[in-house]
């Protein structure tokens, strides 16, 4: 795939959704750098969701390996998911967000089917942790998980009105007092 701005091979694939309208760009590494694109991972579907969730629809990007397959990259430490698979260690705390989609099933297997943390939280983050919806932490995490799946399906089927509602619900839960990133 060629870069939209020059004849080089595209290595960054950008998808932006604003007000339900999807914009796509394919850029080579040099053009992507000039346009200040940051990579953010999570696999194709998760990537679209990430962009959908980004405030103001800000652009995020996924580099493309030769052959067109997208590669998940952490925007903070630049670790790729393949690097993680080889070494077994993540690069930084942000990797959990960047690779959330891939890590979910892996963590479920590693932790007896668990999908969310239960237990202690840092006091400095405001104790006790608020439970804005009256749900326990685990219940809240399960609810968020389900909403993310709904959002994924809605985006996949291009039902952007539904996706917007689900996004707002996720945002509402995330913005609630005491909620943490």
């Amino acid at each position: 795939m060629k870069c939209d701005l020059c004849n080089n091979e595209a290595s960054v694939h950008e998808v932006t959704v604003r007000n339900g309208v999807k914009f796509e760009r394919n850029l080579c590494e040099s053009c992507a750098a000039q346009h200040g694109l940051e990579s953010q991972g999570g696999g194709p579907i998760a990537e679209i969701i990430k962009q959908f969730m980004a405030p103001g629809g800000s652009a995020v990007a996924v580099p493309v390996v030769p052959g067109g397959q997208r590669v998940a990259v952490c925007p903070s430490c630049r670790m790729t998911f393949n690097e993680f698979k080889q070494g077994g260690l993540l690069g930084c705390p942000e990797c959990y967000r960047a690779f959330e989609a891939q890590l979910g099933p892996l963590l479920e297997r590693a932790h007896e089917g668990a999908i969310a943390h239960a237990g202690k939280s840092p006091r400095r983050q405001g104790a006790p942790v608020a439970r804005p919806t009256g749900l326990s932490l685990a219940e809240r995490a399960m609810r968020l998980e389900a909403l993310h799946k709904q959002l994924e399906q809605a985006v996949r089927s291009e039902q952007y009105e539904i996706a917007a509602k689900v996004r707002d619900e996720i945002k509402r839960m995330g913005d609630a007092p005491g909620a943490q990133p």
Binding site: G88, L106, A110, A114, A118, G119, K120, R124, Q125
Partner: protein
């Protein structure tokens, strides 16, 4: 090395003869459970994890964690080791005392230009119940050890130290995943609870493999004497939880301390009883051969010594080995030898560096001398 308030001049590691907490033979069930250990994995928010961090980042993490550890009033006395500046033999002693991991002692390599990788450990003295490793796999590994089956007490120590450290540091945490760790197998609580078990009875009766299989079915890890990747020398096994996400700390503690460990302790005691009953002559023979080796050998390798000490410990606990005037032998004398036969402690006890052959000679000599007083 520096000490908590005010800074002190460099100090040597604990004397080789001082028993660390995990060999004191105290707490519940010390005949089977040598020690209970709890560790928490924590990382600084906004910093790359150690494996991805630049040298500058690691130095920065080290300084932040060290300053916090030294000012958090974690213990009446706390000593700090800059491990990149500590001689290899002293690092090896800290590994043998289970105060740091092999990985932290080794570091990630360095160069003659940049020097060794910045890393360190804070240790509570004199009991060595608490240690905080910095720049291991995670920025912080907070560890508490207690003698015998005392996971509840060890957890309370570790939890309190975690609170004090966290009061001055922003830790990487997400509401969904919990405490964020370099390896996703530690994410969530970041909590690993483990017990060091002495299981000679189950090994001699051949039941040990059943225990290992049952542990695997319960999502528990069975590791060797020095943790991950190490062999179970001297019939010493570390049993620990593997699931760190989705279960609260209290649930992990309850499962380990009330359900799992007591059952294994029962199995081991039943095996020892069986050995004393139907298989008495056979087990007495094994124990006395081991005692003969320990009290007469002129050369002893570490593993050989540990295996014989394991049987000697079993003999002492069963009353097969008696002291002068048929008096019972204090199991701590055997526990202490399990530490003193280790290469770094042996060299510290002798007072000089030794090559492998010299160590075998010195080890046999030290064991004979110690047991001559006991038996």
């Amino acid at each position: 090395m520096s000490d908590a308030r005010p800074p002190q001049p460099p100090q040597p590691p604990p004397p080789a003869d001082v028993l660390p907490e995990w060999l004191k033979n105290e707490g519940d069930g010390p005949d089977v459970v040598l020690s209970s250990r709890v560790r928490l994995a924590r990382n600084l928010a906004g910093q790359p994890f150690v494996s991805k961090a630049s040298r500058k980042d690691r130095q920065c993490s080290l300084e932040r964690c060290r300053d916090r550890a030294l000012h958090a009033a974690l213990a009446p006395r706390l000593i700090w080791y800059d491990l990149h500046l500590t001689p290899p033999l002293e690092r090896a002693m800290l590994v043998e005392r289970h105060l740091i991991s092999k990985q932290l002692a080794k570091g990630r390599g360095g160069s003659s230009v940049t020097g060794e990788d910045p890393r360190g450990v804070a240790i509570a003295l004199p009991d060595e119940r608490l240690s905080i490793m910095v720049n291991e796999e995670d920025h912080l590994r907070i560890q508490a050890i207690r003698s015998g089956l005392a996971l509840g007490e060890a957890w309370a120590d570790c939890d309190a130290a975690d609170d004090k450290m966290e009061a001055g540091l922003d830790l990487a945490y997400s509401q969904r995943f919990g405490y964020l760790t370099a390896c996703p197998t530690n994410v969530g609580t970041g909590l690993r609870m483990s017990v060091m078990l002495h299981l000679p009875g189950l090994r001699v009766t051949g039941e040990i493999d059943k225990v290992k299989r049952a542990a695997a079915d319960m999502c528990l890890a069975v590791r060797g004497f020095y943790g991950e990747g190490s062999e179970a020398i001297g019939d010493l096994f570390q049993l620990s939880n593997q699931t760190t996400m989705g279960k609260t700390e209290a649930a992990i503690l309850r499962d380990m301390e009330r359900e799992i460990v007591p059952r294994i302790v029962e199995y081991e005691r039943a095996s020892r009883k069986e050995l004393l009953g139907r298989r008495r002559v056979g087990v007495e023979d094994q124990i006395m051969r081991a005692w003969g080796l320990l009290t007469h050998a002129r050369l002893l390798a570490t593993e050989e010594a540990m295996q014989a000490l394991s049987l000697a410990r079993l003999g002492v606990l069963m009353g097969i080995i008696r002291g002068r005037g048929n008096a019972p032998v204090d199991p701590r004398a055997i526990n202490q030898l399990m530490l003193l036969v280790q290469p770094a402690h042996l060299q510290r006890a002798v007072g000089r560096e030794l090559d492998q052959e010299q160590r075998r000679l010195a080890r046999a000599s030290l064991v004979r001398a110690r047991l001559a007083v006991v038996g």
